[in-house]
Subunit: 264 residues, 6 copies
């Protein structure tokens, strides 16, 4: 059991669903976000912090022995914004972890680091990076930083390429990419429980019938996701139009992100 687990991005979409579910992993949970928010319950510490602020991040990480890093920009955006939160921010976080001797991090990477692979391809951890936007590029940067801090300083990171983490799958693409909160929670448990983690790539998707991703290489984690987006097919087909075969939402693993321009 950890002494103190830090969760960044705790007020974001995924963070809000997760932040009350990890209390059993540490004696203390520290929640942080750039936004102001109020934590439920009594045990959590809340610290507001901008990830691009190096000193702030250094303070934030002090006293922690594990980090679930969900913070930063999570959609396509202007480069300066992405660079601030996802490039400077990730560098700041790993530097803080190094200085404070944090030994294990779950880094919320994204399927958008491989978004230009076709949906008809099956990817494992050796798949070439093919980011589908500046957001995806920033996550490639984050994975590279994590790899460096693992090889050079022994900080272990789970590089979780999150698919679509929502309460329910909302469109056809998510029938393949959906990651239920329950399955993400169990993944966090596995990541902080395994004696030796290393720096594995893990595709963050539930046990969906339709699947593009292969996590066999990470079998040592013992993660066995239980949810299946297929159970929601009827709702999805009722509310969302099936994309045409040449719609980017049907062609690329990154879906509509591939159609984003460079924002200025």
């Amino acid at each position: 059991m950890m002494e103190r687990l830090l969760i960044t991005g705790a007020a974001g979409g995924v963070g809000a669903m997760m932040r009350n579910r990890l209390g059993h992993l540490a004696q203390h949970v520290r929640l942080s976000d750039i936004a102001d928010f109020e934590a439920e319950g009594e045990t959590a510490e809340v610290i507001q912090c901008d990830l691009g602020d190096a000193d702030g991040v250094l303070d934030l990480v002090a006293g922690c022995d594990g980090i679930v890093h969900l913070g930063g920009v999570s959609v396509e955006d202007r480069f300066d914004r992405i660079r601030w939160a996802n490039i400077d921010g990730v560098y700041n976080l790993y530097e803080a972890a190094r200085r404070h001797d944090v030994k294990r991090i779950l880094f919320a990477s994204s399927n958008h680091v491989v978004g230009y692979h076709p949906q008809t391809s099956r990817l494992d951890d050796r798949a070439p990076l093919r980011p589908d936007g500046l957001y995806g590029v920033s996550k490639c940067f984050g994975e590279a930083i994590a790899s460096l801090y693992h090889d050079k300083f022994g900080i272990e990171t789970a590089l979780v390429r999150i698919g679509s983490c929502f309460p329910e799958p909302k469109d056809h693409r998510m029938l393949s990419t959906w990651l239920s909160i329950d399955d993400l929670v169990s993944l966090v448990e596995c990541v902080f429980r395994v004696p030796r983690l290393g720096c594995p790539v893990i595709y963050g998707a539930s046990n969906n019938s339709m699947t593009w991703w292969d996590n066999a290489h990470a079998g040592y984690l013992g993660w066995t996701p239980q949810s299946n987006a297929e159970d929601y097919r009827q709702e999805v087909e009722r509310s969302a139009q099936i994309p045409q075969p040449d719609d980017p939402a049907a062609v690329y693993q990154g879906g509509k992100f591939t159609t984003d321009p460079i924002y200025e």
Copy 2:
């Protein structure tokens, strides 16, 4: 939902079991065979057609937007017969599909395109072709035609290398190769439901405990076969002799087909 689905070979072994199970996929189902037969129910159109007759096939395909191609010779036979139905016939079918703008086809290929691989090998979609007879060779031809029409004209085909599609497994080899009708039906559903199909090889076998084939590359289809030939082991062992280790039925994936001569 399709407007009209054509099923060829509808009076054959697989066709007869399937033809009443696919009505939910299209508003109309057109059934065809070289043999005369009567369709059950009222919705199905029946058109008798010899696949080697180009004009007949052109008429047959008119008005359809999907094809389940089960027709043709399905055992080892004289070359002229196989060529007529499986080579000329497949060319005629794809030409008709191109002219009438049919966009998706399930082509019943066969495990006999890889029949000379040993049973101790595991095959995926990259396995070299090793046909075990002229029938298998004709299916190699069909797969090549489908690949061409996909790359050149955008017609998508599921190349389903059917194992042994019978009501129940009947001998020891079928403990590995059996494909239940239920599982074939669910495969057809997946093939016509996925937004983008491409031109994948799919091994047509149920979820058998004994398995030679790996469909992981086609995970994007969401096909999860449910039947298991193992459930029929007792019946199989009661009625069928276990082959010796050097019996072709135990050596090669194609089984006894490897012992067929060239018929004259």
Copy 3:
């Protein structure tokens, strides 16, 4: 059904748990060990035999048509002891099998032939050998002998790299390596039931959530292990200390065996 199945090492840890579970595979079961022991039931023949004694082994194998070879040294030890039982012994056994025309053997190899691979790696049957001690080296020798007798004389062997075969998993490493007796029994059944066995490598682990090993290549055996070490996690965590990330028990697949010296 075999005429007579020989089980060596029948008084050892695994042998004692197995010897009464295989009676349905043969009309007679012959049990052997270097130690004196008494067999339960009536059908079993007991023959005491030192595997390093070539003449004794030749007599032992006479009249058998299958062998489950569990005998020999099963921990790290002095070279002379390992050589006697596991090198001379295995040579003696295969020579006896060749002379008496035994056609199928299950050879209890060990995960310690690949013990220096990291726990974060996934291995299949193509993984390079990396033995973690002289015991592991002797099992590499045994696998090589089995391969030779298969290629040259047609004797088929299942090379079962047993993980940790105990009634229950006893420490954290066994959450990955545990093989339940039930699953080993079902593996023996599969090995002697399949018409053609060949000479496959099979990793002997149950259906554990945490897994380092991939048996997909041996899918033709139809082995579907049912036990899961995860069901024993609470007991394990209660009684055994979780190893640190740099503890050999957490670093290497072979665990503590990597810390054994050369015994003199």
Copy 4:
């Protein structure tokens, strides 16, 4: 040294360049083509033969112990023509070889069996077939027939996927695909000299600096092509326009063949 080597298509482009270069491989050389032509020298027998004529082919093959099969249609054409020469024709040839116990064939397959692979991909013998026209499909058929006759009857075939066999490379694509006559001659020598041939795929290209194809798997043949299309770059660049990046001649390995329609 063979008794009698048959060369089909001896009046075609490649055949005309080859037919006088193989005399040292056999005591007699038999030349055949659908066209009438006159052979140079005295040793060659000339037999006019239409490959689609089964009886004619049976006579043609009588008395031969090796075949270099260059005959048939070698460009995109109407299906009926391709089927006659390249499908019926190849079947006729292998049947004749089987009946007359010919044990080794060099089959002129074509790069057009993989013509839809991009020029930026490197292919070896495991590359999926992606024919770029009906001609390419007919060569897929021929490779399948050869594989069948190898597995079933022991007839060995070298499946030579010829690139562009001309006296000199004539356009930019040929800087990668060119096969000099000298190198083809040396390949024929290797194919008929190696004690055991099997049924390998060999990409028929010279030792060009620009290369898409990998023949490492066929290293046992000892073929070391010596020509290099790069030596002709200046002439090529002088006479042929460099294709644009999106010109099919620059995109696909099959080049302009991908733009051929289905001829009617």
Copy 5:
């Protein structure tokens, strides 16, 4: 032939050796560096530019149709410096290329993106990224940007992971990593000459006898490096100490870079 080729980093080590060698590739050569320098000859335009200055880079790229991007920080340094030149700088460059419709770029990436791979490993373009410092991480970022601009905007980039580009190899590691200027020049020629480039990874090393890297996947470029560091072995052994087996200079492909701290 290009209209105008831009070379960034033209006053740096590699740039200074290259800048007079590429005149035949374009009618005009534009040279740029953050440092002031004087160009030899008359044809070159010199424009001083800081890559982190977006507007300056936009002006710099105007009118060019090809870029050899050598600029930026090329050793381990403080993060803010690396980020400015290699992250902001690369983004600025690709944005300028997109706006000015530059279609082809040679990006000087570095072997330090894979620097933590052991020297006993052989890498091809599928090797996982294992950067050995912040400099290496910034090159990972650059490769990701290039991949994005290729997939999304069709800008082609050669990702050249330069080994050690010096007039001569200077230490033992360079016997493997050396890239002669001549070979780099010929690589630039190949990159701007091939009709279709795509976005390949190319390891930038000469034809050294000692080699860790495999460029077979990029055979379509026709690059055949001619220099061999082995020719300089005597000089190297005379002047440089052979590293011990556990010296990072002998262990890791990135050599001493793996020992750099995070500079503050």
Copy 6:
């Protein structure tokens, strides 16, 4: 430069050709064999030693810092003889190396560890072991011992799977397997020169045109063999009968060794 290099088997076929060619690698060369022999020149120490004699080997190795281990049985033989020299002998040698802190060994393994692979296959260091006799099995044992002593004690070994090391190739198989003395000498130089060796498998064959083996993985050694058996083809074809396609000499990489019985 080493202080003292030990060469075992110095009076054997390979040893006799090598023992005077390695003097530049060490200040002293110690030659050993079970047979009595006289060394040429003055610098070499000769010590007669039976490898199965542990104490003798311990003395033999004292004072050495490198070993070229050519000693032992090098053909198929009775098990007791092979075990004595090649199993006990290798164990004795590595134990002596460990005790005397010898850090690098070249172990003369053999192609006969993979002798049952067909000649039409291409092998790299991941090829499964398929020994063709007890001799080959003993070399598998030796490779396993070397791997253990590398992982556990840091002793580096080059596992050189020698093909056919003779002054000239003598039969057709040797056109593929021949290793010239010159090339073996240069390999020894590379093995003792590279700063970090590890424990690589290296196929010991010259730069023969006909080749079954791929040493690309060991490119870091910088070994570039220069001889080519093809240069001796005429002599070979004059003196040796070309084997038939189904002759083991043409079927298996191990050639005639596959036909050896178990000697008694």
